[in-house]
């Protein structure tokens, strides 16, 4: 069954079985994203649970103007942002101008890249994951995060710059 059929089946029955089918179809990808965003197992569990509670509450109003995955990603990312706002006094985005750039470096392998993403400040990590890993366009990210496309582009520019620096530092160790 595709997403629309799974959702219709759930809305029709509100059954646990239908929810579990929907959950199992959609969660593994989102859970990987949550782990990459938070770098924390228990926080990922918490965010995924909150995401589903909100999604099921609003599911009947979902208009299918985007893919279900995109809609769920938006809920998840905004929960993550709210968590950051509540728990972090300093947003590392402020440090962006202090970064030295290695102009020659490229990412050498997926493992190093994953490690580099994990080191990024949360805001940078978020934009890299959404744009470069998940493949969302700046227009979509702007909608998901309620920012302008220009802000999305700017954040990505600085996030990539920082990522390359981290990888450069690691490669010289």
């Amino acid at each position: 069954m595709d997403d629309r059929q799974l959702v219709e089946q759930f809305l029709k029955t509100k059954s646990e079985k239908a929810f579990r089918q929907l959950y199992r179809e959609r969660t593994p990808h989102l859970y990987q994203m949550a782990l990459r965003l938070t770098q924390d197992d228990s926080l990922s569990d918490e965010l995924i649970q909150e995401m589903w509670v909100i999604a099921i509450r609003k599911l009947a109003e979902f208009q299918w103007r985007s893919a279900l995955k995109t809609w769920l990603t938006g809920i998840l990312v905004n929960l993550y942002r709210n968590h950051r706002k509540a728990n972090e006094k300093m947003d590392a985005l402020a440090d962006e101008d202090s970064v030295e750039v290695s102009s020659e470096l490229t990412f050498s392998n997926a493992h190093d890249l994953e490690a580099g993403i994990a080191q990024l400040p949360p805001g940078y990590r978020q934009i890299i994951i959404l744009h470069d890993v998940e493949g969302y366009k700046h227009r979509e990210i702007a909608q998901l995060l309620d920012i302008t496309e220009g802000t999305s582009k700017s954040q990505l520019f600085h996030a990539r710059k920082t990522l390359r620096t981290f990888l450069s530092e690691d490669s010289t160790k």
Partner: protein
């Protein structure tokens, strides 16, 4: 280097990170319970008592029919060739959802008739949810130890092959309602 752009190699590496990470069954159950508490999904355990009773009665019917189809007329007396013996264990988790009692009655009856028509000798028994787990150092109440996983019945049958035993299991209505059936061949030493 222009920071706005990734090389093709870099794009390829990013795509390699598009993986999935299954969640634990415990998290899935935790989320289901949270949704039940919020009243966002139906709680199987809160079915009207008569519906629950009727569904259980319909499932029990199959075990009654077992007795009708054995040569002795007794469900617990059956001679089978151990080398062709298989046990089917019926498991239920929270995903098991009984359907309309009358539909279930007819489906189980049809299954039993079909199994008998294949020449498969079979017996079985419904099992109580109450049981005791006995281990080397302690004993536990079965329900609290294994909930929400329950073993609710078994069949012993004589089939020509594992494939035939699996076919019999796959056709059992228990599967349709979200249950699982474990097929275990006998070992003859």
């Amino acid at each position: 280097m222009n920071e706005e752009h990734l090389s093709e190699e870099e794009k390829k590496l990013f795509r390699q990170l598009q993986t999935e990470k299954p969640t634990s069954p415990a998290l899935e159950d935790q989320i289901v319970n949270a949704l039940k508490q919020e009243g966002l999904i139906n709680d199987n355990q809160r079915r009207l008592p008569w519906v629950q009773w009727a569904a259980a009665a319909a499932i029990a019917v199959v075990f009654f029919f077992v007795g009708q189809y054995t040569q002795t007329g007794k469900a617990d007396v059956l001679e089978i060739n151990p080398e062709m013996g298989y046990m089917l264990l019926l498991h239920e988790t929270e995903s098991f959802q009984p359907g309309d009692p009358m539909d279930m009655f007819n489906e189980y009856k049809t299954w039993m008739e079909g199994t008998f028509a294949k020449g498969v000798t079979i017996t079985g028994q419904e099992l109580d949810n109450k049981a005791v787990f006995v281990g080397p150092s302690d004993s536990l109440d079965y329900q609290s130890a294994f909930k929400p996983h329950l073993t609710t019945g078994y069949f012993v049958l004589e089939a020509e092959s594992l494939e035939q035993a699996i076919e019999v299991a796959q056709e059992n209505p228990h599967i349709k309602y979200g249950g699982r059936i474990e097929v275990k061949p006998f070992i003859v030493r």
